[in-house]
Symmetry: C2
Amino acid sequence: MHIVVDAMGGDHAPHNIVEGVVRAIKEFEKVHITLVGLEEQVRTELKKFDCPQDRIDIVHADEVIDMHEPATVSIRKKRNSSISVGIKLLKEKHFDAFVSAGNTGAVVAASTIRLGMLKGVERSAIGLVIPTLNKFSFLMDVGANTDPKPQHLLQSALMSRVYAREVLDVADPAVALLNIGSEESKGTGFEKEMYKKMEECIPNFIGNIEANAIFTGQADCIICDGYVGNIVIKISEGLMESAAALMRREIKKSPIALFGAILMKSRLNHIKRYADYTEYGGAPLLGVNGIVMICHGRSNPKAIKNAIRATMREIEHNIIQCMETDLKKTTK
Amino acid sequence: MHIVVDAMGGDHAPHNIVEGVVRAIKEFEKVHITLVGLEEQVRTELKKFDCPQDRIDIVHADEVIDMHEPATVSIRKKRNSSISVGIKLLKEKHFDAFVSAGNTGAVVAASTIRLGMLKGVERSAIGLVIPTLNKFSFLMDVGANTDPKPQHLLQSALMSRVYAREVLDVADPAVALLNIGSEESKGTGFEKEMYKKMEECIPNFIGNIEANAIFTGQADCIICDGYVGNIVIKISEGLMESAAALMRREIKKSPIALFGAILMKSRLNHIKRYADYTEYGGAPLLGVNGIVMICHGRSNPKAIKNAIRATMREIEHNIIQCMETDLKKTTK
């Protein structure tokens, strides 16, 4: 399989991206990777590593979209950006997937414009695999569509079920609607309407889920709009960072506690690894006609490597075809 | 000062409520409390404690609104509920405040209908004092108004500034708008409009804040709609509970780690206390013409006692008058 990777995306590009790609090439025998970006810079980075050259190549793209540029404008203006060129390769050369840690809005815009949508899907959505107390759940949308219509969430729910089934190995994924109460009558008019529609159209719909139950693993797929989903992942990130900072501060106050922390270290590391987003790689952009994986802007090489692994799984399981089949079945 | 307390509100009423009230009476010399609820049950609970009787009395209310009853219907149908009677006492007897751990929607509805709104405020909002890395911040709205108009959020922002100034002792509270990006251009149309309006009308408006920065203490007041605010507090609650469960599970796997945890215990307890909502008491309902404090349905006696302490502070600082003055000044 052949994956295109945006070498210029993220806060530490191209270094972290190239190192992640090198690790992936070494670890996963089946993959071939095309790095897209400023050729000279990418080549310089690549020379730092000892790596089989026959499964990596570089395609030059002479523009870079910054992390904070307005998405649609940047895609229109920078036609030779690594994101635009990467998506173009995916489309025209029939490569298997595109991975980027760059400007999320720009990746979504470029994918939507160039790849088009799957039949039966009007808006794309970004999903995220989150660790819960007993397994993994799939939260969607975490930021592509901040002001969705009911049918967009229904389409997201159908796609998320396919993702959970094919990539997370859940036989019949349970789908829940994120809401501010578990009763059908809770939420704004939008959520009440959604509840009814999901009950009608979504297989194994288990009702509303409150935010405090997200991490318990009750639902395999948790559906929300992109605005709320984005708040959910950012608050989780912020809270865990603040809690860790608070813990370090408190432990330093007492030598006994510090000694205790040293004894606990291996278990604490285990927890850290468990909650560490870099273990699970990127966030799939679903709904566009092609496999696109979005990585955190702060991705380190391990996160990039694991995002490539997750992308390979999508390719192996023919996720696009599976989604098309399911969408066709349900919208009939 | 004279506070009315709903004896029947919350998952463990009247026991937890009465015990919390008894603790408050013992600890705070200035307070007189009227407990409202099923008189016989309340009296039985009260007999369990040794406590100065001259500062507690009971007013009978023969109906109880369940935690999950639809709010407005229950207020209309159960005219003798502890919530309705409590609010009526506040209004007619000119008592100083009402505290309830009961059905939040019912408390909001009863307060709005019977007390009316402050001049210049169209919708009430619930605020919450949250611990951050270096002090406390005030998050509002956490659930009263899930579908607000821009002017509602502006009114909330003005009220939250008064609360932070009077109750949290912040001289000139910095106000931020919760959004999915820090730039002015982020969010849906609603957030973009809000940004402009807040910049115009709110003193010391510091712009957008992302959810991952809520717990850093950058902003003294964080403004959002009640739907998102509710998600924020519930996800924080759920995440901390899941993290603690995960930690216990991991520690049990290794005797060395367990020993380490014992050595860390006093510092861990300190953190726990820091993050414990029961330390800060209730969540003020602002915008109605009277002091109303809403407590978590799971409130233990300590939470009730601390909610009474926070309510006393609102009374001491004449929070209603302060808000009226500030609202008048800004809407001139």
